[in-house]
């Protein structure tokens, strides 16, 4: 446990020594801010218009702003995730510091979990940037809190999944760019899977739909915490971290 935390904080600090941490946070806030602005402005003008027509309908901030914004946050993350994970192991392999980790009295699983938690921690910080926008809504409006929490839980799980995939890819190469590229490709594929298979009814389409990380996000963003989705994300994370462990072990006999 001590070792996991040690490696976790080392990785987390590393993000802020290099520009990566700041860059990811800035890009995320900028894009999300733009989306937030357009959604909010849209809602406000819709509200004015319906008032002027004299038929004011009840409008939910949750449905009009929070849900689309947080959905979009998940999509931005798909693209930013490779930047977070690509260097995790690939860089250590390239510079030879992996030799330090593997010859220290630390188990492989501790190294992997440490790195994964470090990445999750950064991811949480990036995600935290969106709290600024959401907080504004709470200051001047009365959105429902519970669906927001559910959506954040979903984002966290989805992110954990993508990070686990990214760290696995990072163990397979010593080239950061390759690691980043492949992770991006896999993220994109998992994202597209939903659109390819959405309306299919064949078994393949159903399996594809089930495996798409994005489909399981839908319930969360509606504010529904379904145990099926929890199990899906938990097992995806477990599966990819397990593969990472195997891949790390194979470094030893392939080296």
């Amino acid at each position: 446990m001590k070792n996991i935390l040690l490696i976790c904080f080392k990785e987390f600090k590393g993000y802020f020594v290099s520009p990566i941490g700041y860059a990811v946070m800035a890009m995320f806030s900028l894009i999300l801010g733009a989306v937030f602005y357009s959604q909010t402005a849209n809602m406000v003008s819709l509200g004015f218009r319906s008032q002027m027509m004299g038929q004011s309908q009840p409008m939910s901030v949750n449905d009009f702003v929070i849900r689309p914004v947080l959905d979009f946050a998940g999509t931005i993350m798909l693209f930013l995730m490779p930047m977070i994970t690509m260097r995790l192991v690939a860089e250590e392999k390239r510079t030879g510091t992996i030799e330090l980790l593997l010859t220290s009295p630390v188990r492989d699983i501790e190294i992997i979990l440490g790195k994964w938690f470090g990445a999750v921690l950064l991811y949480m910080c990036v995600l935290g940037m969106s709290l600024l926008n959401i907080a504004m809504l709470f200051m001047w409006g009365k959105p429902d809190l519970k669906p927001v929490l559910a959506a954040y839980l979903g984002l966290l799980l989805q992110g954990g999944c993508l990070l686990a995939i990214g760290i696995f890819v990072s163990t397979t190469t010593r080239n950061q760019i390759v690691a980043g590229g492949v992770t991006f490709f896999v993220s994109l594929l998992l994202w597209l899977l939903k659109y390819f298979t959405e309306f299919g009814s064949t078994l393949i389409a159903q399996v594809g739909n089930y495996l798409s990380i994005v489909t399981h996000m839908e319930n969360f963003s509606k504010g529904v915490i379904d145990s099926r989705d929890l199990v899906f994300y938990a097992s995806m994370i477990f599966f990819w971290l397990f593969l990472t462990l195997r891949s790390m072990e194979s470094l030893r006999w392939r080296a």
């Binding site: 070792n3 020594v17 510079t95 030799e99 330090l100 980790l101 220290s104 009295p105």
Partner: protein, 332 residues
């Protein structure tokens, strides 16, 4: 302290280490000498549990590298060929991280970092980023990292490569001050390195063990000595091996007599001379005068000597990555 038995490491197509066995006693400094690509790094990587052996066993402080890797890792300080440094960290921050990783408690860590920083003369650069350090300082940080948890065994892969002469001397002094309570294995392809800092030397070449001996013995045995193989046969049945050996040993100029083989009453010896002595004529006379037949007398090239020559050449010449070692292979 370190025990290696029948160690073999094969990569996909090449055999990096071929059936090596040796032991290192507690508190000694051992030089691991061999030309580039001899298998030094691979052997060290097996000892540090970085690579598993293909065959054979290796143990450190009684713990097998495969069965109890954690115990081995706890007792080992390792400096790989390129120091494993995180350029984005400050020196003291890095040492603290490694120290904690090696199991030093949070209460002791500050004291240990101070201690190794002092020992490796890192006082002035403690707050610098590793990325900004010169090669010599990086090497010292690497060394500090290896000794931070006060390990029983230190494994150093070419600790002085790429340093200037002054820095090399500093590292040597540091190593000497560490000997005694630490067992140290250091690899090098430079002969004088071993002469300066090691008590014993293990020479390997092309993955095979060539010699293990004390530095003084090896130097004496090799500098300008000559080795002769001779086959002795007695006309009156089997000659007594010990008698032959004794007679050969008293020949003037002989330093070592080793019986290599005996078959059908024929004995084969290998005789080495002292420095600069020619012993062949005297050996022949002794054998014949004792009433035995001398079937064969021929000089044998010491493969060890070839390597020695090659190593000396590497030292003098520009750091020749692929200095000629074909001599030795051709002889076999």
């Amino acid at each position: 302290m370190i025990k290696v038995e029948g160690l073999t490491k094969r990569y996909a197509r090449t055999v990096a280490v071929d059936n090596i066995s040796f032991e290192v006693e507690k508190g000694t400094i051992v030089g691991f000498l061999g030309p580039n690509g001899a298998g030094k790094t691979t052997t060290m990587r097996v000892l540090t549990c970085f690579l598993p052996p293909t065959e054979g066993t290796a143990s450190v402080a009684g713990f097998d590298v495969l069965e109890h890797p954690m115990e081995v890792k706890r007792r080992i300080g390792y400096l790989p060929e390129t120091p494993p440094l995180y350029p984005e960290m400050e020196v003291s921050e890095y040492l603290k991280f490694v120290g904690r990783l090696k199991g030093i408690s949070s209460t002791d860590i500050a004291k240990r970092v101070d201690e190794v920083a002092g020992r490796c003369a890192l006082g002035d650069v403690r707050d610098k980023l590793i990325a900004k350090l010169s090669k010599g300082f990086r090497q010292r940080v690497g060394l500090a990292q290896a000794i931070i948890h006060n390990p029983e065994v230190l494994i150093l892969d070419e600790p002085t490569s790429g340093l200037d002469p002054k820095q090399i001397i500093e590292i040597r002094e540091l190593l000497k001050s560490l000997a005694g309570d630490h067992t140290i294995i250091l690899s090098t392809h430079i002969l004088s390195e071993v002469e300066h800092s090691c008590e014993r030397v293990i020479i390997i070449n092309r993955g095979k063990l060539v010699a293990i001996d004390s530095v003084a013995n090896l130097t004496n045995r090799l500098r300008g000595s000559e080795a002769v193989a001779l086959e002795v046969e007695s006309p009156a049945g089997h000659p007594d091996p010990t008698e032959v050996q004794q007679r050969l040993e008293v020949v003037s100029g002989v330093s070592r007599v080793v019986m290599k083989d005996s078959r059908n009453g024929r004995l084969i010896f290998e005789v080495e001379s002292l420095q600069g002595r020619h012993i062949r004529a005297e050996l022949a006379r002794t054998v014949v005068n004792s009433g035995w037949n001398l079937n064969e007398l021929r000089p044998v090239g010491l493969s060890l000597e070839d390597i020695f020559l090659q190593l000396t050449a590497t030292e003098k010449g520009a750091d020749g990555g692929n200095a000629p070692l074909e001599v030795e292979g051709a002889r076999k």
